[in-house]
Structures are given as C-alpha cells and as structure tokens.
Amino acid sequence: MKAPDFDYLRPETLAEAMDMLSRHGEDGAIIAGGQSLLPLLNFRLAGPERLIDIGRLAALKQIVDGDGFVEIGALVRHCDLASSEAVARAFPLLRQAVGHIAHPAVRHRGTIGGSLAMADPAAELGACCLALEAEMSLQSVRGQRWVRAVDFFAGIYETALAPDEILTAVRLPRRGPDSVQIFSEVARRRGDFAIAGLALVADNHMANPRLALLGVADRPILAEKTMALLANNMAAADQAIELIGNEIDPAEDPAYPPAYRRQLVRTLLRRTLMELLP
C-alpha cells in the first residue's frame, strides 16, 4: 500500500526541530532513517499529520570517543556503528548485534536513535543498551534529561519519551580492558526480527555479569536472577542455563509458544557460555 497524506517539515537545526515538536508533538512524528516508520505508514498503521525529518541534523551524527564513555548520536546509522573503530574497540557487542539488523540496504538508512525510539521488543540495540548500562539523552524546548536504558523502555513501542522530546544521543560507559561482550539471537531468516536474543556483558571471570534479553517480553529485559547466580561463578553455568528459561515469562504466541522461547533462551545462554570456556 501507499502512505497516507501528511505534511513534511525539515528543520535545519536541533533547536528548530525541538520547537516544531513542541508545537506539533501530539499529531506529528519524527522521521530519521524511516526504516521502521515507512513500513508503518505504507501499511497505514501510523497516520501522523506531519513528519518532522531530523535526518539532516549533523549535530546528531557524531560518535564522541570520550573519557570514560562513548557517546553515539541518535542519527548514527547501523552501518556507521559497524564501521566505527571507536565503537569496535569499546563495544564489540554493538558490531556483533548490528550484523543481525535487517540487511545492508536497510542498515544504510536505519539509525540507532530510530531503532531505540521505536522500541520494538525484538530489536537488537535496545537489549545491547540495557546490557551496556546506556543512558539516553532526551531533549526538548524544556531542556535535556538523561534516562537510563532500564527506565527508557516502557512496553511495546513505548518509551519514556514525552511527545515533545527527541532522543538525541546514547551514552555508554566504557568497560574494563577484560570486558566480555557476546551477542547472539535466533531468527527464522537472516535479517528477520529475532524470535529471541541475548546480550552478555561481563568483566573478567564473570564479574558483574549483565544479561539482556530481546524478543521474550514487551520490552528488552535483564535476566536479573540469572545474573546474580552467575556473578563470579562460572561453575553455576548449568544452573544458570536452566534458571534463565524459568526466569522469563514470554507471552502466548501462536507461532512460538512460551516453552519454545524459554528453550531458545537457554540455548543462547549455553552457546554464549561455551564461548567463554578456555
């Protein structure tokens, strides 16, 4: 199908974009790469009065290789994330995850901010942000605030963003030199949305493990019980593999019953921990 009629605005600066959003936030939609929004428009699942195209705001395209953190602008595309040396050094998890996002032509347009703001529960980058303890910068004419990833995701396609706010950047704290970061997922075909996925971030010898899951709840979630069991205790691997399947509560789904997703998550954790064996 074709998209419904809408008006199109293209601000030249972030200030202008925030101003437009403060006036049109309720019946307007931000478009960045458009790789999630255009299908929704084509299917007429979304019908905003106007699109505010922030795609050309150069200020949101930077990757800042900071002291103690890396800050990724909301308009950094998936392909930029995959080719950034700064990202590859600090967060190999992101490069691994990006390889699972759709296909090259989509990765040339899709952005990290767009993916996070869309908040599809099966999206890769949301789970990565949760595992990496990211903070999101939300800006509006009222000011800027930082929201932790764990507080950002509020449900299926729901986030902490107010109607007048723009997600402008994601800040990721650097990990130690021995940081372990492993991403894995199961999808029916390459590039499809995952049925389930898992991101592990830990320090050496499984200190401070963080296990984020995608596709198994209404938002990306942390497997906190399994994290506690595994902390500094690789000997508990078998128990952890069992526990992570019990810890989640996937919704009924005609294609993939909850028991299947529980089993997938156990398999993903087993594969992940196997990679860490000497």
Binding site: A3, D5, L38, P39, R109
Partner: protein, 153 residues
Amino acid sequence: MKTLRISLTVNGEVVEREVPARLNLVDFLRHDLGFTGSHVGCEQGACGACTVLVDGETVRGCLLLAVQADGCKVETIEIMEFEDLRAAFHRLNALQCGFCTPGMLLSAQELLQAKPKPSRAEIREYLSGNFCRCTGYQAIVDAVEAVARARGG
C-alpha cells in the same frame, strides 16, 4: 495533498519536480521519471526489488520518501555498467522472471566492490535482503562467485 519542490540528481541529470510529501522514491523514479528498472514488490522493506543507490549506497526505494532524497545523488539499474555481472546472471540461469534481478545486481555489485573475494556464505549473507521466488538462489550465488573470480578477486 501536500506537495514540496525537490531537486536531486538522478542517473547523472539534475531533476526538479513538485512531489507529494507521501510519495516514495521508487514510485517517483518509476512514475515521474520513467525509470521502471527498479521494481515495487512488498512496499515494506522486505523484498529488495526496489533497491537503488542513494549517494552511492544501496537503499530500499520503498522506505525512502522522494522528499528525503532532495539534494541527493540517485542511481538506478538503468545506468549501471557491470556487463560481466549481467552476463553471468544470464549465462548461469540466475534469473527467470527477472523481477528481483535489478536489486540483486545492485546488491551484488556493492558486495564485490567492498569485498572482491567473498565466500559463498558471505554472498548469501549480503543478498539475504533480496528475495528471489524463481531460482532458489543457488544460481545467483554461482553467478556472483563466477564474477568475483573473473575479476581476479
């Protein structure tokens, strides 16, 4: 209907048009400019039949509005000169109906430029966003592999 004036380069020529805000790039290329080599399949970004180059990179023509391409350089299959890839598709039966072929060729060419000697797995991976309902893909992978070898990759 809300319209906007856009100016962009399409296949080497500067084009200025008044277009509806909701018009996507592939429909603009096909209906306004007559470049019907890019095909419209799923209109949801899944099939890859609408693949075109924007500023030198493959994109989904159905997932980009024409107004978003304002000021960009757009190239379609019509001006692509990779006769070896085209000939290999022909010779090795890498197409039947041809609906997916323009997108396949553009994606394959992009892969070969970035990686002159891809493995078969890498070819499959790179073309995974281009659906073919005729060939079963084997012959397409054969053709891309043959061109990689012939180009000395």
